[in-house]
């Protein structure tokens, strides 16, 4: 018993931080519909600013005001005003992409501004961290536990009284209950959204500064784990109830400390389990809580009163442009293949080979997200499964790399199906969260296992041989990689134009409508998840074989997030988008690796920044640029008297409704779409 308390007590401050974060997350999720995955990153930025200003000799109270009361809420307000107020009626994916972009942008921007030096022993906000202030039933309570608990109670009391006693609070509770109904009753949902962002950012800042001294070092990774715990805390309250979220957060903190207290120290499991624990809880909650199974429209009676936001439409290009771009693309592809096989230096062939591997992985995102509208945050993990399987089969069974890659793909597909079965019932954001949890557990616990990834140090993956022909050189390996890419692209193209592609388009257009004609949407979704996981597994095997080795760092769960952001910004709707994204990502990574180390995350930063524009250009940057060039040339030609060349994209993309959150219907929607296009 006394050991229980001794292990559990240090979990109280951790649990308080989880609770604060969870409350902030639920607040923005309910008031603005955005699942703010960048929450941990916001907390990190505040902690960093606090750390840096205290180290510059600022008094703690001044640093705290700057970091928590000024900077963090200002950032929240800014984000709401420039990004998230436009996503109110948009699909989950449209909301998720800018949040993911932020998750990547904020820490990398901070790293570039403040440098990447190690920051040891972050200062505590109040009181002396390790000094014992009093004894609680015989157990020493130190400054950290005391101050964090007291501040959390104060913050929660503030939030509670605000919600309870102010008019704004009443409106906010109404929005949390039913956004649609509240809107019809004249609640200023736009204002509420902004207030929710400011408040929750305040909480994020506070949580960040409180959390920092609990770790020996200030590192952004700890804060991503924090986000995971916050989501799990939110799941306790089904992302609706604030009190349950608070209780859940405290419970998680204590349970996590208890577990690490009782686990044998020094084992791989002991290193991985505590950080993965919140997500295991989240997965269990998602699957077990009946709350999540209830369909959205039942929990919000007004949800069905407006047409759902229109989904993304594939570009409709004029025939001349279509044929022209096909010829151009074919010419480019052929010259690329020829160049790679002849004059390009071998180290660049290697880089481009990585690009091909990425392209195959990114194709899986096009298949899953672009065609089927589902979001997986575990594609890098599936790729890792492929790579590790290939390596282990080659080491232990001497199996050829090609066979290993296929088996790896199958295992990844199987894992995808196992993950899809429970989470699909939940719909919406649940698959994204479930896959994120899966990615975290697999990359933190499973990949480092000795029989999988040999601890953190990784395993070797050989280059393949076909019969007596060895593909050990970069150039010969590239031939194989290109063949795989072509086969994968053709397969995805065939699926898109075939039965499955049409059914997916129908489900994306209207799920209820698709079911009403007899489409088994669940089966269809599982099928696409399996295909996408398998494809990513094969891409991962190519990556591993080209690199010659694979370790758990190559396919960490952050990579999955970066992958989604990269593909979304370059073009998630097209096969060419995946290939462009893959090559661009590999080449740019190579270029940036020559810069000083503080710019190591510049690439992620740039893609993250581009993702913030996703709301306006869901077709992807590349397509947007292409379209702008064509439209410009049409205008220029018209100026010289050549009219009606037909370069202009006649029917643009159907984007989310941009407005004050009041949905538009029918023809108005079309008008809005034209406005968006015209203004783009």
């Amino acid at each position: 018993m006394s050991q229980l308390v001794a292990f559990g007590l240090p979990g109280v401050p951790l649990g308080c931080v989880f609770a604060l974060m969870g409350a902030g997350l639920v607040l923005t999720y309910r008031a603005s519909g955005v699942f703010n995955l960048a929450f941990g990153a916001q907390a990190y930025v505040s902690a960093l600013v606090f750390y840096v200003s205290v180290n510059h000799g600022w008094p703690k109270w001044a640093a705290a005001i700057l970091a928590i009361v000024v900077l963090s809420p200002a950032l929240g307000l800014l984000l709401d005003r420039i990004i998230f107020r436009y996503t109110r009626n948009a699909s989950q994916f449209v909301k998720l992409v800018p949040a993911l972009g932020l998750l990547i942008v904020l820490p990398s921007a901070a790293q570039m501004i403040f440098g990447d030096s190690t920051r040891l022993s972050p200062p505590a906000l109040l009181l002396d961290t390790s000094k014992v202030y009093f004894h609680f039933v015989g157990f020493a309570v130190n400054g950290n536990e005391l101050s964090t608990t007291v501040i959390t109670i104060l913050a929660v009391a503030f939030l509670w009284s605000m919600l309870k006693f102010t008019k704004l609070g009443l409106e906010m509770r109404a929005v949390v209950e039913s956004p649609r109904l509240a809107q019809l009753h004249g609640v200023r949902s736009d204002l509420i959204g902004a207030v929710a962002w400011v408040l929750s950012s305040l909480f994020a800042g506070l949580a960040g500064v409180l959390l920092a001294p609990l770790y020996a070092q200030l590192s952004s990774l700890n804060f991503t784990d924090l986000l995971v715990a916050a989501i799990a805390a939110g799941a306790f309250g089904a992302f609706v109830s604030l009190p349950l979220t608070l209780i859940g957060g405290v419970f998680l903190g204590i349970a996590q400390e208890l577990i690490s207290g009782y686990l044998p120290t020094g084992s791989t499991i002991a290193a991985g389990v505590p950080s993965a624990f919140p997500f295991i809880v989240l997965l269990v909650l998602l699957i077990a809580l009946p709350r999540f199974r209830v369909k959205r429209e039942v929990s919000d009676p007004m949800q069905g009163c407006e047409p759902p936001p229109p989904c993304l439409d594939a570009p409709r290009r004029p025939t001349a442009v279509f044929v022209g771009s096909r010829i151009l693309a074919a010419a480019l592809a052929i010259s690329f293949a020829v160049s790679v096989l002849t004059w390009i230096p071998s180290n660049w062939v290697f880089t481009l080979g990585l690009g091909v591997a990425y392209s195959v992985i990114f194709l899986s995102i096009v298949l899953l997200t672009g065609m089927s509208g589902q979001v997986s945050l575990a594609q890098a993990t599936f790729a890792g499964i492929g790579a590790f399987t290939t390596g282990q089969l080659a080491i232990h069974l001497g199996l050829s790399v090609i066979a290993g890659a296929l088996i790896g793909g199958l295992i990844a597909a199987g894992a995808g199906i196992l993950l899809a079965l429970p989470t699909l019932r939940l719909g919406g954001i649940a698959l994204a969260l479930g896959t994120l949890g899966f990615a975290l557990v697999v990359s933190d616990i499973f990949f480092p296992l000795s029989w999988v990834g040999n601890g953190g140090s990784g395993i070797s993956v050989p280059r393949p041989a076909i019969g007596a022909v060895s593909l050990a050189s970069n150039r010969s390996f590239m031939i194989l990689a290109l063949i795989v890419l072509v086969v994968a692209s053709v397969a995805v193209a065939l699926i898109r134009s075939g039965t499955v592609g049409r059914e997916l388009a129908a489900v994306r257009g209207s799920e209820v409508g698709a079911e009403s004609i007899g489409i088994n949407t669940r089966r269809l979704r599982i099928l696409t998840i399996a295909l996408a996981a398998g494809l990513a597994g094969i891409g991962g095997a190519i990556y591993g074989s080209l690199e010659g080795s694979v370790s758990s760092n190559d396919f960490s769960y952050e990579m999955s997030l970066i992958f989604v952001v990269v593909v979304a910004t370059v073009g998630v709707r097209t096969i060419s988008g995946a290939i462009e994204a893959g090559l661009a990502y590999a080449v740019l990574s190579q270029l940036i690796s020559t810069l000083p180390s503080r710019y190591a995350s510049l690439l992620a930063f740039l893609f993250g920044l581009a993702a913030l524009t996703y709301v306006r250009h869901p077709e992807g940057v590349v397509d947007y640029v292409k379209r702008s060039i064509l439209n410009l040339s049409e205008t220029v030609l018209a100026y010289f008297g050549y009219h009606g060349i037909g370069l202009r994209f006649t029917s643009g993309y159907v984007t989310c409704d941009v407005g004050d959150g009041n949905g538009l219907a029918g023809d108005d929607r079309l008008e809005a779409k034209r406005d968006v296009d015209g203004g783009a």
Partner: protein, 259 residues
């Protein structure tokens, strides 16, 4: 309780269906049957529970209590798509078109789902693109529903009238044994309504399909329905011959009094 003798089995039997949303009782012990080939009209004031009844019969929402029996088989635990596969097709009060797809694509996908003629393996072998005969069949249906000139317009750009016709055509191509239409004429002008009526009459020609139609336009109900049921606050208050039901004093009071 189930009617097991196949010869005498009604096409559809709904027995004692009840549904609450929170504290609101939307359906109260509703029992109704549909014969093969007949047209049953359902009328009732706004909020009477007509759409909810449809959704319970088709599986979009699950009823709290009661049974739904199609051709002698209990179907109330089956998912929506399986019921559709058994021959139930519908249209929606609030259109559920596949946005981003053209009417032709709507019909192509429905036709293939109905015939179970596609699979991922066929796709991968390159047999996924529509075959000549599929295109012909779809063109015929488009022609039949007067949709030929908008056949390749994306669904978002269609007028409401065309949208309703596309939904009707999408249901028609499934060759249903039971067609359920939720306010097919709402929001349409006289000539568009006329077109829908013509389509319904033509559908009746095959004598195989039974139709249940929820409609506020009494004129239209009189012309197409052979039987009429009245729903009021979740209760079935009348069910029978059109003329008799419309003459019923309770119906006149509830229905005509509130519209």
């Amino acid at each position: 309780m189930t009617d097991m003798t196949p010869g005498t089995a009604k096409l559809l039997k709904v027995m004692n269906l009840s549904k609450c949303f929170g504290g609101l009782e939307v359906l109260r012990h509703v029992s109704i049957a549909v014969e093969r080939g007949e047209v049953l009209g359902i009328i009732g004031p706004n909020g009477a529970g007509k759409t909810t009844l449809f959704n319970c019969i088709l599986g979009v929402i699950s009823a709290d209590a009661g049974a739904v029996i199609l051709e002698g088989k209990r179907i109330d635990s089956l998912p929506v798509w399986k019921r559709a596969d058994m021959g139930m097709a519908r249209t929606f009060q609030r259109l559920e078109l596949f946005s981003g797809m053209t009417p032709r694509e709507h019909l192509l996908v429905a036709d293939r789902v109905h015939r179970h003629s596609g699979s991922i393996f066929k796709d991968l072998r390159g047999h996924g693109v529509p075959a000549r005969e599929e295109l012909d069949r779809v063109s015929d249906v488009l022609e039949l529903f007067d949709l030929a000139e908008v056949a390749d317009t994306p669904a978002e750009a269609l007028s409401l009238g065309h949208g309703r016709l596309v939904e009707l055509a999408r249901a028609f191509i499934l060759e249903p044994i039971l067609l359920m239409l939720d306010e097919p004429s709402s929001g349409l002008d006289a000539s568009e309504t006329e077109l829908i009526i013509t389509m319904l009459e033509r559908l009746q020609g095959n004598g195989r399909t039974a139709t249940v139609i929820v409609e506020h336009d009494l004129q239209m109900v009189r012309r197409v329905a052979s039987r009429l049921a009245v729903l009021n606050s979740g209760e079935l208050i009348a069910d029978g011959d059109v003329g008799t039901v419309l003459a019923d004093s309770q119906v006149r009071q509830v229905y005509l009094g509130s519209t």
